[in-house]
Symmetry: D2
Subunit: 358 residues, 4 copies
């Protein structure tokens, strides 16, 4: 069945298609009396907004969010918050052709197999455009988490070109169009991605998201493990094919001492000596930074022809014209941050519900 | 909050601690009139059962499952199926010491931070013992999926030693104590893991699970994406730190043509020319085999000392005596299969609910 | 926590306040390929719309619904259906006074106690205006149920004046402003309610909703019993204080033979000889008409003064000016029908999910 | 679909059939560090236990509850609490006949229509025996609510014989086998019910449950309204056909002033002058006692013959031998209390999750 809601207490339901009149979400369960206005949400949307460099799709959307309920006299009321963004630059003519064919690697075929019908304009519901609403919801989630929790993301790999982690600089992330934390990778990516774009191809990427200031104790032993919920939330972002927490796949190669994060005391508090676990043990936060990484595959929409079949059952070559991201992983950075924020906000409310604290 | 249930229509709730009187689960939403007896479940539990080789924990549990409800005259009735396994070999004396200290890399510290209390005997609720119930539920899920769906898992890496995929042989998986699909890796792992065990250390691993025969159309565009649900389910297995679908992290390094699975026609049916996507596009199954992989970190319980702190706030060195798996990833193979089966059964029921077919 | 969603597979989430810019809902889980347009929804909204007679509030709302997602080329796509109605006649000036006082019998005090803030304009989220979205969702639910299921409601009591059931005429329901099925009660109610309105008072009512053509087998033995879900859904309508199924409270006075509905065979099919059970046994539909009744209390907003207290902690007399329904039970008729439709549609999808039929 | 779970944060899942080996439930989401042992649960089970007077079924069950998980060293751990009761007095021979026929008024026909199979022994899953687990879960819920909340139930009507409310005495409830709060009704009911029992008939009843000390603010404006959740929970008890909150159906006959509960100040606190609302306004508790009432129909199992049909499609007369409650409403009193406790505990946790208080 469709299930366009996530979260248990901080619950987000999204709706809308790429080329419909609007997209939106309903944020339910938000605590009351939090200051909230469009100005708190817009900056995050602006980070994700397309058309800001030659490395993202040229679709021009203002992505102007409007709060339609749940806020009164500048504060949340505890009732559902409806957020809506009008679609303004749809250009449906670009997409007429794909109505009849399936783009390999795209959701086209799977949607048709499931529903027997699909809104093919701009990918319809499967468009990355939907992620704008996740970003909007994430801005509300940050309000719930408060200033003590800081969530930041960065792009750590495009194609075969990974950053050098020893040069990590959070300030750099805001200075380049890639959310790159390594200043020296920027010219490399610029040249590489320029070539990809010109050739009509696309390329994958890896995003890393880190949450600092998360108190120990969020999560649950089983099925609502914090890492399991994060994995589901991040894998649910368009084009994501892999997720890892902390050292992730590298831990498969570790022996016991390489994996264990030793604990010492510092000013009477527990201080971990390393963070291979990525801030989560047994599904519960430890107070260390929560570290997640996810892989974004290359956009399947590209100018290079790929063998495919048509709706009417003929073999064809598919070339996807129109406006597309050569590396959709770039704009996935604010989306990953938002999903992290939503999952943490949900677990914060669930934790204090069961525990009666915080 | 605690949330020991997963699934929407095929719903599994587990309970029990490592050293309590029993562990169990309730499987709710199972269709009626499916033949089911203990004999259908026991073989899967026997695969996961400890103490079968020197490479798994020496705890001896019969893991004899008992169906306590939901089955009448040999068939399911559509009402909740209660499955219970008595704990028989607890030996609580082994664990007295860990009541006072936190094993680095283990859930001890996080549980204490969350709940202010924990059943420290054998890890209590965080013990891998709980996965027996997932395996039991998975056996019921296989009944729901029917014989047309085949779910198999294998161990593809222990520590730095990965299999050679060109030698993949499913029959081999049943012939060695590692669930290894590559006969030539077996002696390598035997020697390596023997050394790990003797040194009192532990090591990580990678498990791969493949489901064949899954019809196209299972899943949903957003939030209940098949891959997102699989990611959550697999990341929720004890000690798992990473999950990938299809080519997973490798897709980050791909350009467009490397990622797209070309489609051709074969006997009038769509035939994919490759399966980089791992059988899922846009969150929905395509009819290709569904391929998932996950990394299991080294057991944190080991004989090597690690710096830690005690409950009373002193710096200590922790050595975990008692019986442990040197490579807990081995027994994670049947658990991964079971989680795949449960997620697919749930999506099958959800799909036919919305679609009214199958 | 707030939880503005109901249903498991056919899921409705509503948002919006009486005097915000708009109200809306998201209908998730709707099967694909059902014909749906605004014209299918509007007639039901028009039945509930205020300002159509002197017996309902004089607020004038066009209640023009707009489908913003989930429908493409005239059919549902299986993705979430967003429905929005703009608020056009808010007149907030009417409500300034109630910001400072609590109307006895109204949600004012409880909201303030819970949230410490409330949108007092027109009752905010607690306004019966929200029920417009239930009616809209109900229209979609009817599409899911198909033409074989007919859901109709009627008003059977206003104040002390009940209808004579022997004169029940469904055609009459559409001919009078009360949804009364008894033509002879109409002048009685006209006179009585005219007096209530002139005196500035209000009055309670009883609504009956009947669903015919519901197949046997919908529902579940426990916790998702069809009657339990109906009770929750109907009790959740504004101002409802009681719900009964079939003969309801009267069954408390019955002896065994008075309660049992005898079964005979007719043309080889089971034919019940009576329907005291209201079409539901053991939480599951029997194929008989499903009969539910609910009591709607008098509107607490009225011109008669009632002792109350103010936000600042003073004793006051509250008189509620502005536009109000003297008998809010009248407009609850289409709302009750809608909730019945939503519950049945949800159970239909759930049933065929578990059973794989229909 | 089956859905044998209720609650969002305080979640109860039950399993088991009347004549299976055992019945049980899993209570998930319970806060940690609450003192809990079997002795806290058993007294409530003993109140519901059959065979204690000639007015309830003669089945003899010890109903000895066993805590199998979630409690360690006398306190809850925050992990799922598994409660199990062995069935000891099944006597399946009593029920052989009903395998082939449908008892009118019983769930037999509906189960068969839904599942195509049913455990007919003692009613299987539809047996009131399942309510023992609700009572057990309710005892845990009381622990969550704490001593400040007092939940008590009473029987206020059997057949046509209602109590005189002016004689209400809570102490009397514990002194007679009916949970009657009116001493003068006891001999009336004794004689009347004795006659019912001898004639092989059965009779309906009304139960009232009152919760005192519930803080203002529990509940939610919509869909998770406290009254809606109570209505669903109480209507979900076996044989219940109607539920009302506060003055319930009587409010349909009220005019505005009769319904409004005036508010005054007393020692600086809001003091309501009456409680027609039953402690709930707008779906949220007001701090007044929460009052709910529900009607229990006569048991359909009785010695008097009723026309029915058989599984093989023949007209028959059904007489139900075996052991049955002549008035199942009596034992519904502790069940009603338990459901009230569970709903309130759930809302308490949800409230403090969203609000971060209490």
């Amino acid at each position: 069945m469709s299930y366009n809601t996530f979260g248990h207490m901080f619950r987000v339901t999204t709706w809308g298609e790429s080329h419909g009149p609007a997209i939106g979400c309903v944020v339910d369960g938000c605590p009351p009396r939090l200051a909230l206005s469009e100005e708190d949400i817009q900056p995050f949307l602006d980070k994700r907004r397309p058309g800001q460099s030659s490395f993202t799709t040229q679709r021009r959307e203002a992505d102007q969010v409007r709060i339609c309920s749940g806020v009164f006299e500048g504060v949340t009321t505890g009732t559902p918050i409806s957020l809506i963004i009008e679609n303004t630059d749809q250009r449906s003519k670009d997409y007429g052709e794909i109505a009849q064919t399936f783009r390999p690697g795209h959701a086209d075929f799977a949607y048709q197999a499931k529903y027997g019908v699909r809104d093919y304009r701009g990918g319809g519901r499967s468009s990355a455009r939907e992620t704008a609403m996740r970003v909007a919801a994430g801005a509300v989630a940050r309000r719930v988490l408060g200033d003590g929790v800081r969530i930041r993301g960065a792009l750590v790999q495009i194609g075969k070109h990974a950053i050098n982690r020893s040069r990590w600089d959070w300030n750099e992330v805001e200075r380049n169009p890639f959310f790159a934390p390594d200043p020296e990778i920027v010219p490399v990516w610029e040249e590489y991605l320029g070539g990809i774009r010109k050739s009509g191809s696309s390329v994958g990427a890896v995003v890393e998201v880190i949450a600092e200031g998360v108190p120990a104790g969020l999560g649950a032993p089983l099925y609502s493990k914090l890492d399991a919920d994060l994995a589901g939330a991040l894998m649910g972002i368009n084009a994501v094919k892999a997720v890892e927490i902390g050292d992730g796949f590298a831990t498969a190669g570790y022996e016991g001492l390489e994996n264990a994060d030793p604990m010492r005391l510092q000013d009477g508090e527990v201080a971990f000596q390393s963070n291979h676990a990525g801030g989560i043990l047994g599904g519960i936060s430890t107070g260390q930074p929560i570290v997640a990484r996810f892989a974004v595959k290359p956009t399947s929409s590209m100018l290079l022809p790929v063998p495919s079949v048509s709706l009417s059952g003929e073999e064809v070559q598919v070339v996807t014209k129109g406006r597309h991201d050569p590396c959709v992983g770039i704009r996935a950075v604010p989306v990953g941050e938002a999903m992290m924020a939503c999952v943490l906000a949900d677990h914060l409310l669930r934790h204090r519900g069961q525990m009666g604290v915080m």
